[in-house]
């Protein structure tokens, strides 16, 4: 009896000592572990949206869909960066968790499998399929046929299909419709490195015709858009996803429906002044440059030499390369000859892009380029090369068309 009591006592002491130690360590580390798990959980979002302000993420849970949660991504200035949609789907081999990053233009930034217990060798095949989803418009996504990892890929597809339904509501389009009711879609034209305004969008109606342009800027931490029609008539300001600035916009109502070049502003108030700065910057842009109405062109402007003599025209164009759009500047002289190609922005692999870029140097001085001649030069970098060819040939033919008028 005494022996048994002794055994019980010893076990009790050992047990309680170990319990105490574990409890103490847990008290010490629990917060840190929680923080680490949180950071690991958010790492995938930060990778997709490098500029995101982690403290400003807004998590909205979704029910009745393969999408579990929508996270709104804002940067530190409250600009909308895009959305992350977290989805989960069960297939016969287990669960597949996916995060889809969508930027503000509804174009897919990346699709990542965050967790799955499907067969690893097959999951490792997927990145190739997922890669091709990048920079596609999520509302009109096309999938590769998948061989070898059908189940896992089908799970990813069902999640994307559900994501599609959820992003249909579009804050930017809704804002445009307040100003131009015919607005049916919009398309990214140009991202400025300028500080005053950031992005230019082309607004189209449901027949795909150009009906206006929007210039986005941030004032007082809120995003707004200045909208002009296709003839650069000022149509008004609108807040993107908010109406906080509407009272300040009233000061600009007097100038509506006037060609933006002819407006001389006279407003007062601190907010109004900031908005006026945006207005004037857009005004300067639209006075010095003109819209190019070809699909792969953004704008063009006159080029002068040192003695202010007109020597040619510069065309800015954008076309889809290997990894997102390439934005290029093409200079054409007064004789209609292609004289210079410059890179404004690209995400293509540098080696391939450089190969494609140098393939067009032999064409300097020509008035037109046939694809057959060009294609030999950029063989091996066909995605980059094809996008450069599109931009240059559009610039040349647009220029010829303009000169003929």
């Amino acid at each position: 009896m005494l022996d048994k009591l002794k055994i019980a006592l010893v076990l009790l002491v050992i047990g309680s000592m170990s319990g105490l130690l574990i409890w103490g360590t847990n008290e010490l580390t629990a917060d840190r572990i929680e923080e680490n798990r949180e950071r690991a959980r958010l790492a995938v979002y930060v990778e997709m949206f490098p500029d995101v302000d982690v403290n400003k993420m807004v998590f909205d849970s979704v029910e009745g869909s393969n999408i579990v949660e929508i996270i709104t991504m804002l940067d530190s200035d409250n600009n909308l960066l895009g959305y992350a949609l977290r989805g989960s789907h069960n297939n016969p081999f287990g669960v597949v968790n996916v995060v889809i990053g969508v930027d503000r233009n509804n174009s897919i930034i990346d699709v990542k499998i965050t967790e799955t217990d499907n067969t690893p060798t097959y999951v490792s095949l997927l990145p190739n399929f997922l890669r091709n989803l990048r920079s596609q418009d999520i509302r009109d996504v096309s999938y590769d046929t998948s061989t070898g990892a059908t189940s896992t890929y089908n799970s990813v597809r069902s999640i994307i299909e559900d994501a599609k339904l959820l992003v249909a509501g579009d804050t930017i389009l809704e804002a445009y419709q307040e100003v131009i009711s015919a607005a049916a879609s919009y398309q990214l034209l140009f991202e400025f490195s300028d500080e005053t305004f950031a992005i230019e969008y082309l607004i189209k109606d449901d027949a795909g015709q150009r009906i206006g342009y929007a210039y986005h800027a941030t004032v007082d931490g809120k995003e707004l858009a200045l909208i002009v029609d296709q003839d650069d008539t000022f149509l008004g300001f609108v807040g993107i996803g908010h109406s906080d600035l509407d009272s300040a916009f009233t000061a600009f109502e007097d100038y509506q429906d006037t060609a933006i070049k002819d407006i001389t502003l006279d407003v007062s108030g601190s907010l109004e002044d900031q908005i006026a700065t945006v207005f004037e910057a857009v005004q300067t842009l639209l006075t010095t440059t003109m819209h190019a109405t070809y699909d792969n062109l953004v704008r063009f402007f006159e080029v002068f030499d040192d003695s202010d003599e007109l020597i040619g025209y510069a065309y800015i164009g954008r076309a889809e390369g290997y990894n997102g759009d390439n934005v290029m500047k093409v200079t054409i002289n007064l004789d209609g000859e292609f004289v210079k190609l410059e890179e404004l922005s690209t995400n293509d692999t540098p080696n391939f892009f450089d190969l494609a870029f140098s393939a067009f140097e032999p064409f300097y001085g020509q008035t037109s380029i046939s694809q057959d001649d060009a294609i030999d030069g950029y063989a091996g970098a066909s995605a980059s090369g094809a996008s450069l060819y599109l931009i240059i040939s559009s610039a040349l033919s647009y220029h010829a068309e303009r000169m003929a008028e």
Binding site: N26, F93, V95, T119
Partner: protein, 200 residues
């Protein structure tokens, strides 16, 4: 959820994620006992019994006791105690029930406590979040997975012991005899099992 999920759970834990060759659980008994086919089989049966029962008990313990009390962090210590006492129980039961079985199985039972396949499968069952299917289907799935894992263990023990009986009589350089050549053989078997990865 359909019944096929249980079938795939067995196939997946038995062949595709084989405990010994692809998850490296239970390598010690695999190297220690597999010299003779009979003892290998006896060991596998004991492991299967304990593994399935342990999966059942640890799953219930985790979701009915640890989670409600918010002390998931003592998982390791609780599971190993459950397994150890379970092995003890099984040993006593078999001793009472049949002297013959005890004689052939008995010596392996204490070894099973430190067989990491048992604890490994129990811990993996929790981290696989079978609970997402609901408590009862999750439990069934955990038990099925454990059963499949035990089948996989038995399969490897059996096939490997037959290979090793041949290896014993093979003419090998002295430094390769015994465990080294067994490990390399296991490596080649693991390569073969990698090929099964696509069947589900």
């Amino acid at each position: 959820m359909s019944w096929t999920i249980f079938f795939t759970a067995i196939i997946s834990s038995m062949l595709i994620n084989n405990v010994v060759l692809l998850r490296f659980l239970g390598v010690c008994p695999f190297l220690g006992v597999s010299k003779k086919t009979e003892s290998g089989l006896a060991m596998s049966i004991a492991v299967m019994f304990v593994m399935v029962m342990a999966a059942l008990v640890t799953y219930l313990l985790y979701y009915l006791v640890l989670v409600p009390l918010n002390i998931e962090y003592i998982q390791t210590i609780a599971f190993i105690l459950i397994i150890a006492s379970f092995v003890q129980l099984v040993e006593m039961f078999i001793k009472r029930f049949s002297k013959k079985i005890y004689k052939s199985l008995g010596i392996y039972l204490p070894l099973i406590t430190t067989n990491c396949a048992i604890l490994g499968v129990a811990v993996a069952n929790i981290s696989e979040n079978f609970i997402d299917y609901g408590t009862l289907p999750g439990l069934a799935l955990a038990v099925t997975t454990a059963f499949g894992a035990a089948l996989g263990f038995g399969l490897i023990m059996f096939s490997f012991s037959t290979i090793r009986e041949r290896l014993e009589s093979a003419n090998l350089p002295e430094s390769w005899k015994g465990v080294p050549v067994a490990l390399v053989t296991a490596g080649i078997m693991a390569l073969a099992f990698l090929g099964l990865a696509g069947i589900v």
